[in-house]
């Protein structure tokens, strides 16, 4: 039963991103944040500091991998820290692309 819920969560779209302006929205269209990093950093070059997070050596902030966050978790994260850094990949299951 629990497994079924997890599978359902993973295939449900939770976020929308516009690759042109890097604006992130919830599935219902509410604006979350505009992704912007003033430092040229690559996810693969960062060191893991948690199960779904990595440490950016450029600014020493924790970057959250959104692939494993639910809509509620993401909203909660940004409500507590609107400047929280996120990593989103175009091909992850819980993101859909808008133009």
């Amino acid at each position: 039963m629990f497994g079924e819920i997890v599978i359902f969560e993973r295939i449900t779209f939770l976020m929308k991103i516009n690759p042109s302006n890097k604006e992130l929205y919830t599935d219902s269209g509410a604006f979350l944040k505009r992704l912007h990093c003033p430092i040229s950093v690559m996810w693969k070059d960062m060191s893991e500091n948690g199960s779904n997070t990595r440490m950016c050596s450029g600014c020493e902030k924790t970057i959250h991998d959104t692939e494993h966050l639910s809509d509620a978790e993401l909203k909660h994260l940004l409500a507590n820290d609107p400047q929280a850094c996120l990593k989103i990949n175009l091909n992850q299951d819980n993101v859909k692309i808008i133009h």
């Binding site: 996120l86 175009l90 859909k96 133009h99």
Partner: protein, 210 residues
């Protein structure tokens, strides 16, 4: 003031004959063909005037992310105006590659009539939506003129890293596994003394971080 002077030099006669798809520029009076969408719908200045204005726009003098910002101008009138101002230019051919494409599908809600555009194959549409335009792709990049130039600060040193907000040359910023190919429009670059080396990785699409 300088902008007004430049306009007087390059002013075009107003054409009173206006048809659908044409917009009259409030600055120079030029009636501009907008059928290709080079104007924003709400814009009231022609692209020529918008780029001439960049030449005197002080906001470009501010650093961005600790980098100097390079002005890009497009169109023969802006380039000529820059030359008349004695500015140093790096002129480049501006042609969009056919490689860039984004796909889309247009849907209309059967009850409300609302029209939406989706861009992701994974986004399902229920029976309440009917297809207006089935999956197709377009090249989202278009330039109103094949003439473009970077304005080079006279004190720009070889090896200096800068920020270009409107890249002229064609570079792929990212590919999506659904087939979309995105053009790099903004990038960090290094002045080689003769040209800019575009650091594609600085604004590449793939993993979005921020």
């Amino acid at each position: 003031m300088l902008f007004k002077k430049l306009l007087n030099i390059f002013r075009t006669k107003t054409n009173s004959h206006i048809i659908k798809g044409e917009i009259t520029c409030t600055e120079c009076g030029l009636v501009y063909d907008n059928t290709l969408g080079f104007f924003k719908k709400e814009a009231n200045e022609c692209p020529d005037c918008q780029y001439i204005k960049i030449l005197t726009d002080k906001s470009f003098d501010e650093m961005s992310d600790n980098l100097r910002v390079i002005k890009t101008i497009r169109g023969e009138r802006a380039i000529q105006a820059a030359k008349d101002m004695g500015l140093k230019l790096l002129e480049l051919k501006a042609e969009v590659s056919d490689e860039f494409k984004v796909k889309y599908k247009k849907l209309q809600h059967r009850k409300t009539g609302e029209i939406i555009t989706i861009g992701d194959f994974r986004e399902g549409n229920g029976s309440e939506w009917k297809t207006l335009v089935n999956w197709t792709s377009r090249n989202p990049s278009k330039f109103f003129s094949p003439y473009a130039a970077y304005v080079i600060p006279k004190d720009l040193k070889k090896g200096e890293c800068v920020l270009i907000n409107d890249v002229i040359t064609n570079h792929v910023s990212g590919r999506w596994n659904q087939g979309d190919v995105y053009r790099l429009s903004k990038s960090e670059a290094i002045w080689t003394g003769e040209d800019f080396y575009i650091d594609v990785s600085s604004y590449a699409i793939g993993d979005f971080i921020g």
